[in-house]
Every structure is written in C-alpha cells, then in structure tokens.
C-alpha cells in the first residue's frame, strides 16, 4: 500500500466546512443553510445476531463526493447499502438508529422503499447489466418509474444518460445490441448510465472500479469527478489513492465503527485519530 504523500490536485474545491465526527459525538454542520443530503445518527446494523455497524453518525453533504474507506470487513459496504435499504434483500438484517436520506426517514415503517430507491441510485462492485440491449438497459428504469412516457422523450433520455456516463460515443451505433457484449469498463459505465437515467439525487457506488483495469478505472474516476456537480455521490473504496483522487470528504471505517471523517486533504495529511494515520500510511491494510 503506497504512502499518500501528494495533496489532492487543486480542483477548485469549494471549501465546505467539514462535518467531523467521532463515534460517540454528534454530527455538526458549520454552515446551517447547507442541509446535508444524508444524515445518519447512531446507526447500529445487524446481520442476524452479528453486529456489523456500531453507533455510526455521519452526514453526507450535497454535491460532494464522499469516500468511505477502510479495510475489508469494516462495514463500509454495509453502511452504503443501508442508505437505500439494499440490505433488505438479505434475510435477517436489522437496523437501529436514524437514517435520513434526502427528506425521507429510510427505516420508518411508513416510508415507501421503492420511492426511496427511485431517488437514490446505486452502482455495484461487479457490473450487472440486464441481458437485454444497451438501449433496453437504460430504458428499464425509465419505463419502470414511468419517468418519461413518449417515445421521443425516452430516446432522448437514453441518449442523455449515455452521454452523462461518457459512453454515448462508443455505443451510439449499436444501441440495440446486447449489453453483455460490452467490455467490463463499458458495462460499468452502462450501469452508471442506467442509474442516472431516472435522475436520482444521490448516487451510491460500491467499489465501482475494483473489477476493472487501470485505464477503465481512470475513466470511471473522471466520470465521478464530473458528475459531482449534479449529484451527491457516496463511494466505497478499498483503494486509498482512489479515495484521495476522487473525493472531497472521506470517512474512515474500522471494525464497524466510524473512526474519523473530514476533508479528504486533512484526513490524508493530518488525520486526527492514530488509527486513521496508521491506515493511510499503510501500517495495516
């Protein structure tokens, strides 16, 4: 694990005051007018009897890329999937605490989980396109939620999504060919386009580039950076450098707890917790 010595490139970041949290503390936003897109308070998450997340409190700011990092098994994916209740597909899971996503209380009984997922998009570790054409993959979510109903609108939406995902030029001539025939990197960008097609407000990405080669990874990272201005992005990554490159805010998880969260620059150059420092300097993986 290489040491992170360079500061993130200057990308003209708007320095939003960070929400630094410790496991026990309360989340604070220094700028009260900036309502966080997601606010999680005291989240405990269980797989059956096994506790996977312990008292996690974290705020995710709008239009930022927040990276969740930590070693294998630290709970970062569990946390991510808790945000759109994707963990519900696994039997025996249970959540305690408050997860407020946008204006919805995710785990309230009255919350329509379908409506939640409509507004929160997700991209998975391994690309999972449907065995349909490229066009049909993008159109699936649009049709499902009846976002656009006329044929022209649909075509336009599909094109817009593919452009947004930087895939349009590569596939515009073969929209009706099978999505499975695309390369791994293209499939993942297709999945991003598919998620974007229904115009979510938040985009969750679970190690989106871990199964890709370096070149494809770079394209995904550029894409994430570009998308930041329109979407709130939360990305799980086990790659420290990727977290440093791509995010403005980083949260470090370890053994189910949130150890530290703050501006990426500071987490990597001047972490406040010793555990964080050990992790970013590569003392343990």
């Amino acid at each position: 694990m290489a040491m992170v010595t360079d500061t993130p490139r200057d990308r003209g970041i708007q320095r939003t005051p960070p929400t630094v949290t410790k496991s026990e503390g309360r989340a604070k936003s220094a700028d009260p007018s900036q309502v966080p897109a997601i606010h999680v308070e005291g989240l405990n998450f269980y797989y059956g009897a096994k506790k996977a997340l312990e008292n996690v409190t974290l705020s995710i700011q709008r239009n930022q890329v927040t990276a969740l990092m930590g070693p294998s098994g630290c709970g970062k994916s569990t946390f991510l999937r808790a945000l759109n209740r994707m963990n519900d597909v696994i039997p025996g899971t249970r959540a305690e605490g408050v997860v407020r996503v946008l204006d919805l209380d995710a785990y309230a009984k009255s919350t329509d989980v379908v409506a939640l997922r409509r507004r929160v998009g997700m991209v998975f570790q391994k690309s999972n396109p449907f065995p349909k054409s490229i066009f049909e993959n993008i159109a699936y979510g649009i049709r499902l939620n009846k976002v656009v109903t006329d044929r022209d609108g649909l075509n336009q939406r599909v094109e817009d999504s593919l452009r947004e995902a930087a895939l349009w030029d590569e596939v515009k001539d073969r929209l009706h060919e099978s999505a499975i025939a695309l390369s791994g990197g293209q499939q993942q960008r297709l999945c991003i386009a598919r998620a974007l097609a229904i115009r979510p407000e938040v985009l969750l990405m679970d190690e989106p580039a871990s199964a890709l080669d370096p070149i494809a990874t770079q394209r995904i990272e550029e894409l994430i950076f570009k998308l930041r201005t329109d979407y709130t992005i939360v990305i799980v990554t086990h790659n420290l450098q990727q977290a440093a490159r791509v995010s403005q805010i980083t949260a470090f998880f370890w053994l189910g707890r949130l150890i530290e969260a703050g501006l990426t620059e500071e987490i990597f150059t001047n972490p406040k917790q010793k555990l964080t420092e050990d992790y970013v300097t590569g003392r343990f993986g």
């Binding site: 994916s77 597909v89 979510g141 499975i180 990197g185 190690e207 871990s210």
Partner: protein
C-alpha cells in the same frame, strides 16, 4: 506402474476404465436398442400404411384398418390442455418457493410439492376414475346451456373424457415443471435482482427481471412437463374414456397413444395389429425424445450462461471481501 511387463495390470487403471466403460456403453446401447426394437417391430405397419397411418381416422382392428390420427390428436390435446392449466401454477409455486416463502415454510412446502410427483400413476388413475370423473360429470351436468352449445362442451356428460384427462395430467405435471423452474430461478445471480431493486423496482418487478434472465430455462422447465404429459399412461387411460375419436369437445371420450398401447397390446391377435401398436410406440418414443432433448438443452444453456460473456481487458483484481 514400475515392475510391470504387461501393457496393463489386472485391477490397474486401464482395466478399471474398460470395466466401468463397458457398463456405460451398455446404458447407451439400451437407449439405442429401444429405438431399434421399436423400429424393427413396426416395419410391417410402416410398410403397409406409410404416412397415411397418421392422417387416417379409422381405427378398426377387426377390419384391419389402422389409422392413428385419433391417438395423436388425443395425446396432443390432453398434453397441451395439461400445459395450459399447469404452467401458471408451476411458475407460481416456483416463484413462491424461491422468492417469497418464509424460511421455516420452505422445506415442508418443497416436500409436499415433491410428494405430488411421488404418487404412483395408477393411484392417480384410481382416484381419477372414482373421484375426479364423477365430479367432472356433475360439473358437466350443471353447465349452463350457453357453454354446452360451444364445440368445446358438446356431447353427453359422461365425466370420462378429455377434461378429466387434462385435469389429472396437469396435477401430475405440476411438481416436475415447478421443481425445475425453481432450480432455474435459483441460478439467476442476485446481482440481477439487486440492479432492479436499486432502480426502484417493487418485489414483483424484481422477480420479473429474474424471470426474464431465466426465460430459456423456464421454457425448458415447461417443456419438460409437456414431455411428461405426453407419455403418461395409466392415469390417462382410466379417465379419458378410451374411444378413438377426434373431437374438440372436452366432454368427449378420446384416446391417447400411450393409452391405446396399454389397452390393446395384449389383444393384438395378428402381427399387423401388433406392428401398428408398436409403430405408435415408436412415434411416442421419438416425440418424447425430441421434447426432452430440447428442454434439457434450454435448461443447460441458461444455467451455464448466467455469467456475462464479456471479459475485462486486463486481469481482474482480486475482489475484496464485502465490507
């Protein structure tokens, strides 16, 4: 093997292979032999009647006239009817058992549906003859006249007939297609359903995505049930009425290929009669062979190709454990 002069050793690897290979070959030979024997013993009929055998309606052994159209008709009609009735139920069961059933209920329910498959066909026949047929008859008796006028329900209410046969066949077919469909659904990767859920799908919509992914396998499962229905003998012959007529009516007693062989084989006095029956058996063999082959191909192709065919350009990095 050191110290051996012979090209093989008794009990050695080669003789083991030959020994077991012989039995493997035997099984293959048996299958081929079935086709060969059926062919051999139907030659008389094939030579005498040729293709006309299959388009002639008259089956009159006494007069030496053999036309097998009623049997093909009855077999196909009853099997298709069974298919139509059983497929929605089989799919519903497969979906319920693989997606919806609570954990504690799964095993007992699976056991119960498999029990349906374990009941001997003759028991279905006895129940069909003494319970189902009279019930069908009362259904037919109380049928509104408007329905009776249609070609599907014309004829006297006997109970025994195509409807009873279709009903009992559909019950017998359900466990087969349901269990194969369930296996097929289990082979759909969770990632497909997750993708649908992440886009805001309801439970049914996510299942639909899984069904779409598994569509070839599902078709294969249904075909398997169809093949089963084609070859079923005892239960059918006890409720279908065993009358060689071609009729659209569900009330009419009809005949299937398997049933006529079962009933008339021992009464076949002359060689031509026997050959005619064997020819029916030969065609039944061929049809079920083709259907079963196709269905297995479909099922195999689906369970094998569940991974995307595209490979990444560079070697895949080892996937980290899910956090």
């Amino acid at each position: 093997m050191p110290g051996t002069r012979l090209p093989f050793r008794l009990g050695g690897d080669l003789s083991f292979r030959i020994f077991t290979g012989f039995f493997a070959l035997l099984l293959i030979v048996i299958v081929v032999a079935i086709g060969a024997e059926l062919w051999r013993n139907s030659l008389l009929s094939i030579q005498k009647f040729g293709f006309n055998f299959w388009v002639t309606r008259i089956w009159d052994p006494v007069a030496g006239e053999f036309g097998a159209l009623p049997f093909i008709w009855g077999t196909l009609y009853s099997a298709i009817l069974a298919l139509v009735l059983s497929t929605p139920v089989s799919l519903g069961i497969a979906i319920f058992l693989s997606e919806m059933a609570p954990g504690w209920a799964r095993q007992p329910l699976v056991f119960l549906t498999e029990l349906l498959a374990a009941i001997p066909s003759i028991v279905y026949g006895v129940w069909g003859a003494f319970v189902l047929a009279p019930w069908v008859r009362s259904l037919q008796v109380h049928m509104p006249d408007a329905l009776r006028a249609t070609p599907f329900f014309s004829g006297p209410p006997l109970g025994y007939g195509m409807l009873a046969a279709g009903l009992i066949l559909s019950v017998m077919v359900i466990p087969y297609s349901a269990s194969v469909a369930r296996e097929v659904l289990k082979a759909v990767p969770l990632a497909q359903r997750e993708a649908a859920y992440a886009l805001g799908a309801t439970r049914w919509e996510a299942i639909r995505a899984a069904l779409f992914f598994a569509r070839t396998g599902i078709v294969g499962a249904v075909m398997l049930g169809f093949g089963r229905a084609l070859g079923e003998t005892m239960a059918v012959t006890m409720v279908i009425g065993n009358s060689p007529q071609v009729s659209w009516s569900l009330n009419a007693p009809q005949y299937t290929m398997a049933a006529v062989i079962a009933n008339e084989f021992t009464e076949a006095a002359d060689d031509l009669y026997l050959n005619a029956l064997v020819e029916i058996g030969l065609v039944l063999f061929a049809i079920t062979l083709v259907i079963n082959m196709c269905s297995r191909l479909l099922i195999m192709s689906m369970t094998r190709s569940r991974r995307p065919k595209a490979q990444d350009e560079a070697p895949v990095l080892p996937e980290p454990k899910a956090a």
